[in-house]
């Protein structure tokens, strides 16, 4: 089952991803077609092994699809090598992981500054100012000089979101961002995502939590690498 949108910011055309391992070949994504419009909050659900994380990886260019086309803001990501993909990511996308993936030897502030440094978008001074501003937005500015290990799980995820927003990307991709959090903290994180959507950003979030999935504007369900259900969510 396919979803479609009028002016897609992200478009997947017949995307296939096959993993080869000692145990044999596994098709993680099978002919996925998907369009996501700007300002949309798309939630992907599905059981473990359904292909959710693989979908995140190919959309962000962290991994290459075996076949098919992936268009991000008009750019053909499927044709990009890892270098070009990294640059596109730095400019257009922010990624949030379930296990936060913060760099343990950098302070909270430096973790946020790092994507800006890689993208060479701001001067070092501006990077710092901007990073502090982002930390304030996610309410952890007072922890700026601490190392990530000194933060709670919720604070670490807020930090990961701030880092993802560092280069002011149009797209935020989150892979199980609430998976390691308690329900109250998870709710707060989703609130942040909703706020970003209201600012016009596009959020692509993977979760297996049905309640959280309902907070997206659209939900698609994956099973065995295929989209088996697509549903528009109507919020009061």
């Amino acid at each position: 089952m396919n979803s479609s949108t009028a002016n897609p910011l992200i478009e997947l055309r017949a995307v296939v991803k096959v993993y080869n391992s000692l145990a044999g070949s596994v098709t993680a994504l099978n002919e996925i077609n998907l369009k996501i419009a700007q300002g949309e909050f798309l939630v992907v659900t599905g059981r473990s092994g359904s292909g959710k994380t693989t979908l995140v990886n190919v959309i962000t260019g962290l991994d290459r699809a075996t076949s098919g086309e992936i268009w991000i803001d008009g750019a053909p990501l499927h044709r990009f090598g890892s270098e070009k993909a990294a640059k596109l990511r730095g400019k257009t996308m922010g990624v949030v992981f379930q296990s936060f993936e913060l760099l343990p030897t950098l302070t909270v502030l430096q973790n946020v500054m790092l994507p800006m440094d890689f993208a060479r978008r701001f001067s070092a001074w501006e990077q710092r100012k901007r990073a502090l501003n982002l930390l304030e937005q996610v309410d952890i500015a007072e922890h700026a000089k601490k190392l990530p290990a000194a933060l709670s799980g919720g604070q670490q995820q807020r930090l990961a979101i701030a880092r993802a927003m560092a280069n002011d990307p149009a797209i935020l991709v989150a892979d199980e961002p609430t998976g390691s959090l308690d329900s109250a903290t998870a709710t707060a994180v989703i609130d942040i995502f909703e706020g970003l959507v209201q600012q016009g950003r596009t959020v692509f979030m993977v979760t297996h939590d049905k309640d959280i999935a309902k907070r997206g504007s659209r939900t698609i369900t994956l099973s065995d690498g295929e989209i088996v259900q697509a549903k528009e969510n109507i919020h009061a």
Binding site: V95, F97, E101, D117, A124, R128, N167
Partner: protein, 802 residues
């Protein structure tokens, strides 16, 4: 303001101090060895050249049987093409050490100590020139006779006059072989003192300096012309030596040591490179997820590569901070020790700036180049793969033939043994074959070098044994002239303990080439050839040994044929004996030293053609017991008996002493090799520790599984320690095999440099077993810290590892 990525580099460098220390130490060891070798080579080469130039070295030295005076010396000085000449009296005497032991001593008598023109001797400490009835001892010889300045020595001259002489000071005479190497001390007295010993005035040693001393062929011809003049003037020349231009006596040995140091330096550098690759691989494995994250947040390969290369540069810079000053200190200490051992002065210990430049270039560039290999393979991995949960414990065990060999049905014989955890360690060893290969290369090179050093030591001993076994006797007595052979043999047999005697005759000769030019001096040894002969055949390279009915047959060193291309096995050679040319047939070549060629001919034939039938000037004695104490006592009794019978002994050489002195002369080389081998072993050990640390890190999840199914701290630690031992044992086995060609190469290089022939190859089993013990200890030590870390991980920490 510093960019965020450089904060990461700084924090990574100083955040994990153990890792930084491990990497920096590994690099330092190689750079330190390189620094020592480069600097010591320069210091020693310059010191040697300056010491040599300072003594105004002779082109050739000849000894006359008869004494000559200043008039003859002046006539030599006035010869065309002779730049300068000088004369001394040389006497082979005996000295009683402070411990009561009698030793040979060479005493030089110089007419004017303040006007020595060639092969200068200078004052080291104490009196100068030697006062009347006192003696100066060469500075390297004081320890040989266990004496110090102020001690009184009992000296016995060949004329049997014994005098007590006080050591008034020490002299420095770098033209002589260092006393501790040939076991013969050197003393210096005046002609007044000589007269006190009852000896007449006169010289018997002539030092000649040619006009163009750097041209070896020219210098040889000038020395030969002086020899001809000397012989025409009625003097016989029993001994002459032509110096190698620009070289002190021990130059060959020192060059051999420097060559070995160079080889080991290159080897240690290779080890360091492998170690850098290994440790950088470890670092990248440790940081794989972080690399993935940096890619995920937009870091390009070049940016990330730049960060890690700067990190490696920082490791190199830190290693240089340790290695350069230590290398300078080490080079100065090593140079000083070698200069003392080889008895020459070092005038400057300045380290050349090129040495530092090379060290810095290698310290910074090589690690970067070496680490590009793991970097490229690591950075080619996709970000998703780098961050994959399953990747860290994936492994590739089970697919190839090695894995099949050490698993399943092939190990049916172990089925009933409770060694499953050992099997786990063995199989774990082969999981990451790339890393195992790198670790094995590092450790195997270390192992092979260590074993090879022992092999070289054993080969040196075998070579000495090979040379000594030609003499099937306990003591050799050189007499001051020829005596009736049957008389000296009969008198020797009268001494209790003597069971067998044999004689030979020795004389100096020169090879006359087809263009009438003459070689330097060749020593001719003419032993008796019969069933009871105490000289057995040396190791024959080609042809055969002498036979009883041979007439003009000769056996020459194989290296001699290379130096004299006109000569060949089966061909003829013309030797000048007592001024007359005689033709000999070369029937065999033997493996022997090249720098003092010895030609063997038949005693019966030589004594006939030189009108010395029934005479001998050297006696070999075999005794009923061969232990050193007994041989010494019996030798003294023999000397006393000969003294009473009027037979003058000019030199005594017991085989035990010859062996000890020959082996002692190689001790410096072996000690140096051992130090280098220990350094290499250290590098190997550090490499293993790095590998084991990364193995622990990679298998954090597995450790969790082991602990979850009930493995104790000890069991978890043992898995890793056993793995370390398995790697150590594999490296030992491979090192033992690699040591065979490696020690052959070292034997070839060292033998050629020191003796002109390869050493007699010998494989040291004690060295092999010693290294087995060392490598097991090293493996346990190297894997202990990572194993302890592994055993301390809690299940919670393991699960939180993601």
């Amino acid at each position: 303001m510093l960019k965020a990525r450089w904060y990461k580099v700084i924090n990574d460098l100083f955040g994990n101090k153990t890792r930084t220390l491990l990497i920096v130490l590994s690099m330092s060891v190689g750079l330190f060895a390189l620094g020592i070798i480069l600097s010591a080579r320069t210091i020693l080469s310059e010191g040697l050249a300056e010491s040599f130039a300072a003594i105004n070295p002779s082109s050739g030295t000849m000894r006359t049987a008869e004494l000559f005076d200043e008039n003859f010396l002046e006539s030599v000085r006035s010869m065309e093409d002779v730049q300068d000449a000088d004369a001394r009296r040389q006497i082979s005497a005996r000295v009683q050490t402070t411990l009561g032991e009698w030793k040979n001593i060479t005493i030089f008598v110089v007419a004017d100590y303040d006007d020595i023109r060639v092969n200068k001797v200078s004052s080291q400490s104490g009196a100068w020139p030697p006062p009347e009835r006192e003696i100066l001892i060469e500075r390297a010889a004081l320890s040989v006779i266990d004496a110090q300045i102020g001690d009184v020595l009992l000296v016995r001259f060949p004329n049997d006059v014994e005098r007590r002489v006080r050591i008034a000071g020490s002299a420095y005479d770098p033209a002589q072989l260092p006393a501790q190497l040939d076991g013969t001390p050197y003393g210096y007295i005046t002609f007044d003192t000589l007269e006190w010993f009852g000896e007449p005035y006169g010289f018997n040693e002539l030092h000649v300096l040619a006009t163009n001393p750097k041209d070896k062929f020219w210098a040889q011809q000038v020395v030969n012309r002086v020899k001809d003049k000397t012989e025409k003037s009625g003097y016989t020349i029993p001994l002459s030596m032509t110096a190698e231009p620009g070289q002190l006596p021990m130059n060959d040995v020192l060059q051999g040591i420097l060559l070995l140091m160079g080889l080991l330096g290159v080897l240690s550098l290779f080890l360091s490179i492998f170690l850098v690759i290994n440790t950088v691989s470890a670092l990248l494995t440790q940081q794989k997820r972080q690399i993935g994250v940096m890619k995920a947040v937009g870091g390009s390969t070049l940016q990330i590569l730049g960060m890690y290369l700067v990190m490696v540069l920082a490791y190199g810079a830190l290693a240089l901070l340790i290695a350069i000053p230590l290398g300078v200190v080490g080079a100065r200490e090593l140079s000083s020790a070698l200069a003392v051992f080889f008895n020459f002065d070092i005038y400057s210990t300045e380290i050349q700036s090129q040495t530092f430049i090379i060290q810095v270039a290698i310290g910074l560039i090589l690690p970067v180049l070496a680490s590009l290999i793991p970097f490229i393979s690591s950075l080619r991995m996709s970000a998703a793969e780098a961050m994959s949960v399953y990747n860290t414990s994936k492994g590739r065990f089970g697919k190839n033939w090695i894995d099949q060999l050490i698993s399943g049905a092939n190990l049916w014989f172990m089925r009933n043994l409770s060694i499953r955890s050992i099997l786990l360690s063995v199989r774990n060893t082969f999981r990451n074959k790339g890393r195992l290969t790198l670790t094995l290369i590092t450790l195997t090179l270390g192992s092979a070098t260590f074993i090879s050093v022992f092999n070289v030591r054993a080969s040196l001993s075998s070579t000495v044994e090979d040379m000594i076994k030609w003499f099937n006797c306990d003591v050799m007595l050189t007499l001051d002239r020829t005596y009736r052979a049957d008389k000296v043999q009969h008198e020797a047999m009268n001494v209790p303990g003597v069971t067998q005697t044999d004689v030979w005759i020795q004389m100096p000769t020169r090879l006359v080439r087809s263009d009438d030019s003459e070689s330097g001096m060749i020593y001719m040894f003419a032993p008796t050839i019969h069933a009871e002969s105490l000289i057995v055949s040396p190791t024959i390279a080609e042809g055969r040994w002498l036979e009883p009915d041979d007439d003009n047959a000769a056996v020459v060193p194989s290296a001699f044929l290379q130096d004299e291309p006109e000569l060949h096995l089966g061909g003829e050679m013309v030797l000048k004996i007592d001024g007359k040319e005689r033709t000999f047939k070369i029937v065999g070549t033997y493996v022997g030293m090249a720098f003092l060629p010895l030609v063997y001919t038949n005693y019966e034939y030589i004594t006939q053609v030189t009108n010395r039938v029934g005479e001998a000037d050297a006696l070999m004695v075999k005794m009923d017991r061969h232990d050193p104490a007994y041989v010494d006592v019996t030798t003294r009794a023999l000397e006393d008996h000969f003294e009473r019978m009027g037979v003058r002994v000019s030199m005594v050489s017991t085989i035990n002493n010859e062996r000890t002195e020959a082996e002692a002369s190689f001790d410096a080389i072996v000690a140096l090799l051992l130090v280098m081998a220990i350094l290499l072993a250290l590098v190997g050990g550090l490499g293993l520790m790095g590998t084991m640390s990364i193995n622990v890190l990679e298998r954090t999840r597995e450790i969790g599984v082991l602990r979850a199914i009930g493995a104790s701290n000890r069991s978890v630690a043992l898995v890793f320690i056993r793995e370390g031992i398995v790697i150590g044992l594999m490296s030992w086995l491979m090192g033992a095999l690699v040591a065979i060609p490696m020690s052959q190469g070292l034997n070839q290089a060292l033998g050629q440099a020191v003796m002109g022939v390869p050493l007699t190859y010998s494989y040291s089993m004690p060295g092999l077993w010693l290294w087995l013990v060392v490598v097991i200890c090293l493996s346990v030590l190297a894997s202990f810290i990572p194993a302890r870390t592994a055993s301390r991980l809690t299940v919670r920490e393991v699960l939180a590892y993601e």
